[in-house]
């Protein structure tokens, strides 16, 4: 558990530059901790606020040297691309509408990219990014971090290993309470970016957590959502943005699904749950108790898997740093995504073979599929919940 394949391959950690995640950003600290946890990245450059003065000051407080604490993303990309010790990877954790331009700008200059979800706010933008990644051959990692949990990877691996048989049923829910009591911003003033359809995307709840739930369902089941009958909207009457999304799903193999996301369940913290059933058994996993995967086989008692415990498969074992019974959590799951991307990037940059188990991190294609799902759910809502195709065609 001590090996550091990235450092071994490169002789050093990857050099990382960040865009976004300054003071007040919840997700910024997560990204930086994830990058730091396994020692596979050095944070060397950053622009962390749209205000240049604040950006430079905060970047220095994160340990970035003053001359690489930038005030503007393009300035940073330009500058870093010309340094011998310049950043190699750019992590983007800005408002959703800027993922598209920053990702393109970084890819155009040869940087590998790690980007927060959702990929973009529109399908057209998503396809732009997909095209650019394919054109450049660079690595693109989308931080659907919940796929980094060892027990989520165990569930996916058990499905892939046919331990559940043919998948028939998928239930996914992502229930939070953060907006249960929140007073929305004054609609006559400039809203915070999340509340702006232009900046945050067409559906607040779907961009924030709906794409996570959808991606998790795909990741565990190994299936694609092909059609959706949805109702996306708001349960707080006076609210102007979406705070809940409900859907019935049809999957590529005929399996049925249920989807339920909201941020208005008072007192609920971060309740992401999934259950997947096949002909041979069912699995259930909860993010709030992430070290447990319940497997109910058709003909035996329920089995409770734990990270690195008996019965765990290689993709799960690889995602855990510690012997069974020592809980890992959100940071480690997020770090697994970062470290897997590092493995892929370092291998490509050194012309070596990456660990194949590292290549299962979410990417630009997953991102485009997520954007297509959000668009399909909204189209279905507008059509009285009519069944609507959810697939993206490349």
């Amino acid at each position: 558990m001590d090996t550091n394949p990235v450092a071994e391959k490169l002789g050093r950690p990857l050099r990382l530059g960040v865009i976004g995640g300054g003071p007040g950003s919840f997700i910024g600290a997560m990204h930086r901790t994830a990058a730091r946890l396994d020692g596979r990245y050095d944070l060397v450059a950053g622009v962390v606020s749209s205000d240049p003065v604040r950006s430079r000051r905060a970047a220095v407080s994160y340990g970035i040297l003053a001359d690489r604490a930038y005030g503007d993303p393009i300035e940073m990309l330009e500058s870093e691309t010309h340094r011998d010790d310049g950043a190699e990877v750019i992590a983007i954790m800005t408002p959703n509408d800027t993922h598209h331009p920053y990702a393109l700008a970084a890819l155009d200059r040869g940087f590998d990219v790690i980007c927060d979800k959702p990929l973009t706010n529109t399908m057209a933008e998503a396809l732009d990014v997909v095209d650019k990644v394919q054109e450049t051959g660079l690595t693109f990692c989308l931080t659907h971090n919940y796929t980094g949990y060892p027990m989520v990877r165990q569930a996916r691996a058990m499905v892939a290993d046919d331990q559940l048989g043919e998948i028939r049923l998928v239930q996914v829910e992502y229930v939070q309470g953060g907006k249960a009591d929140e007073v929305d911003p004054d609609p006559t003033a400039e809203p915070p970016w999340r509340y702006s359809p232009v900046r945050g995307g067409p559906s607040l709840v779907m961009g924030d957590i709906g794409t996570h739930a959808h991606n998790l369902a795909r990741f565990v089941s190994g299936l694609e959502v092909t059609e959706v009958s949805a109702e996306v909207g708001h349960v707080i009457p006076e609210r102007l943005v979406d705070d809940f999304g409900s859907a019935m799903l049809r999957f590529s193999n005929g399996a049925k699904g249920s989807f339920w996301v909201t941020q208005t369940a008072a007192g609920v913290e971060n309740c992401l749950r999934i259950r997947v059933s096949g002909t041979r058994g069912s699995v259930e996993w909860w993010q709030e108790w992430p070290t447990r995967l319940v497997f109910t086989p058709l003909d035996g008692p329920a089995q409770h898997f734990t990270p690195n415990g008996p019965g765990t498969l290689p993709p799960a074992r690889r995602a855990s740093r510690i012997v069974a019974g020592h809980p890992e959590g959100f940071h480690e799951g997020f770090a697994n995504i970062y470290s897997d991307a590092a493995e892929a990037i370092a291998a490509r940059r050194t012309g070596t073979q990456p660990d194949p188990l590292a290549l299962d991190f979410p990417d630009h294609v997953d991102g485009a599929i997520g954007v297509a799902f959000v668009e399909a759910a909204m189209a279905s809502t507008a059509a009285g919940s009519a069944w609507t195709e959810a697939r993206v065609r490349f």
Copy 2:
């Protein structure tokens, strides 16, 4: 906890006759145990099989005297109605299509009725029963037994007490695995009654467990489902009957709901779960761990209520026979329905006032609303999951 109001009011338990529930019936033993548990009924008469010989033999084995072990329901009703010590209450636990004729026959002869769910297979039949109950003034109890659990009643009481505020969200799921691996009966032969649309009703899964889930959602939330967008069908391709039902719900006050029932989740036992959220907090309850109700208030730590534990409200306390920490379960919940009905019946028959808290058992109106929901879900399915009105109008 020792008082027996029925016996006190009548000077004796109520005399009970049963129709159905013979050897091989899962639900028959439940009904008889529920009737016996609190000592509020004496089982005095029965016809427990459609085969007269088997019926009489089995009825005697249940402790019924030979001369009141009948071979035919109408024979029993006629005979018992002419005895001085004749049955007063008839419990019906026969195939679904016979609920209607037996209930009418019993009501017509002055018997109070306890009937298994679903009320009937069609809306027309349901309205017949509703009319007959209203015309006769007799008591009709429908055994949606899950409403008898103390913590379900606590949840309902907390909602009624406004501890959750205005209800916004309702999730209900009833997931079983019993039909995950079951080979369906030969379609060219006479099917068991559950597999016959005529006898078991238009939708196997909806009649079996869908009506329970729907009724539980109404009971806890205190709201009615007004519209449904549903997909009811079968996930096992070769199956001819319904084994899953998925729906999005709209409630009378604008709340949103999610509904998911299936009998094909391999290895899952009897996973009935509900979560209800309002402006002040959320509750969650699971049938498989029934002594716990989780309440997450908007601004405090999660609270876990237990039967007769601190914070339980009168309707919950009334439904528990024992001090906190001594688990009660399925039988006691079922018995609560029976004993509440006994309280109502005894009070009416003696002209006394019943305990008002006893009058919250499910009845003919709940049954009709359940049948309307099944019909609406099926109509929605046929219309491509179009939103369909679910209310019954009396």
Copy 3:
């Protein structure tokens, strides 16, 4: 699950008379419900209070006919022994000091006996009862009801089946909070019987719950406690009776044990837990979530057994009345003890063979071993927690 072997063997339920359990008694309602639940007993006679007037009135309220609602135990035993339809079984649920005389009186008159725990207050009395049972050949059942839970029987059966290998470790705790805040009775007045060393026994907590914990450890492990190092006393300084007992245990095969009982853990309800480990695996069971038995094998993921679920063994299946996923609880566990005793009694009375699986209910010998354990724990306490032999020699 419909069969009623007792009724089949006798052609009727056993006739039961009760001593004790009147108004205000927690345990009385439990006994009567346990007797009634499976229909294997008819409650025909009783003396339920030491006050004759109260006794007769309360007995009638329990459904006993007036002429068999007695005012004195010996009067009842005498009268019932001379009736053709007299009670066959006497259930004793009186203050602890009267178990001995009432049990002897009942056995002397040919009644089978069901008796609440502890068997007696002294070892000499316990041996008297043991001798009398052996002399008369009658059936004696001690209601260590926790051994009636299906998952406790599953644990015992798995040990007996060698699924855990050689047992090495036993942890048992019984933690309640009922006396955490209770003000003890005025020591200058006549105390309630539990608080009187003469009536309630030498150690309140050990008699109340310590004997349950000790018996459960023996039942699951299949081992005897041979030596004990204990500290029994009170944690509430001003208290005059014992409210906690702590002990280290040595078992007959060299296994080690931990024992902890108290009634002063504020807010805790009825937390009886046991964990037993052997060379091949460990099991853990909690009374407050009784439908789950966790088994951690040496080399596989944890398995969670449920009543009637996959992997349950015959002694567990026999103890459950219902399909998996429908929780049973305290009443059913208690009823299992009663119904097993009924099976044994009916078989002996009819000269037939009982179901061998029914013969595992706790009896007079278990009771004597429990009294010996209490005495050893107290002797150890008096000797500065010196290791003290805990076995009874017959």
Copy 4:
């Protein structure tokens, strides 16, 4: 949650040198991850194996520059003490018998010290370290990492805040299964250090996990163990080292305790659990589900606290990096100890005031008290479990 007080105070992270934790060491990776997680340390020097060649190679693989990858601890301490950019803090994670000499050597040269538990193998050595720390005024942190969990700190804070009232009862157990099936090393050969009484200490299980359990009981309860009646030994007959320890405890205020540690519970992972009861309520915490603290108040429903959730107190909030519902685990708890020590060290080195909430990390005095407890438990065992004083007098 973004602030980095250490870096702010010093203008940079603390420079860390490590002794021990090379390839094959479980705990080495934990220490390094803990140091790295919050960015409060830079790992600049190390000697990580007793084999100089292996040490230097492995140290480089951990990112240490070649000229500071040492082959001998004293060489490292000497060299680093003479560098301008030399290490400031030394972390010791070597076999137990070397904690004493390395700690003294580091303290003598002015390094602050972070040391793995147990402090030392003997009381005399422990007092040496205590004296040296007091003499030098340097910071000494002992990694009883379980005290770093947010919910453990919440429990301690609730006790300190008198939310539990006067403490009466403490139960602690640390149950593992790692040595359930392990074949001990050949006793005729040189044993691995843990199995050597000279190197690993007088009691394998007590040094490994017994000191953690004892320290956790003290930390949460705020009380000292004053007397112990113990049985420490081995349950695997052929084993030559201790694999289980059982004890009854008496605390400074008269509270009673139960202590149970073993590494032979087959299939159990890392089951550290504690329950503490006072006059107003009880708390229970399990390491394997660390984000939950159950509080049962005397007069209200059970409350389940979560990190950063409602009701958490400042010491708990300070120990969590992320909003409620995003689980942190073992690494973060360990990192809290490291980061608290960094806060204390940086404040002392810069002459500023540390955050008072950072000063609650375990130290040399806790270590000495732990060694005294082990010695008392062993003395009690040798004296037939006689009650033995457990306090250390300084």
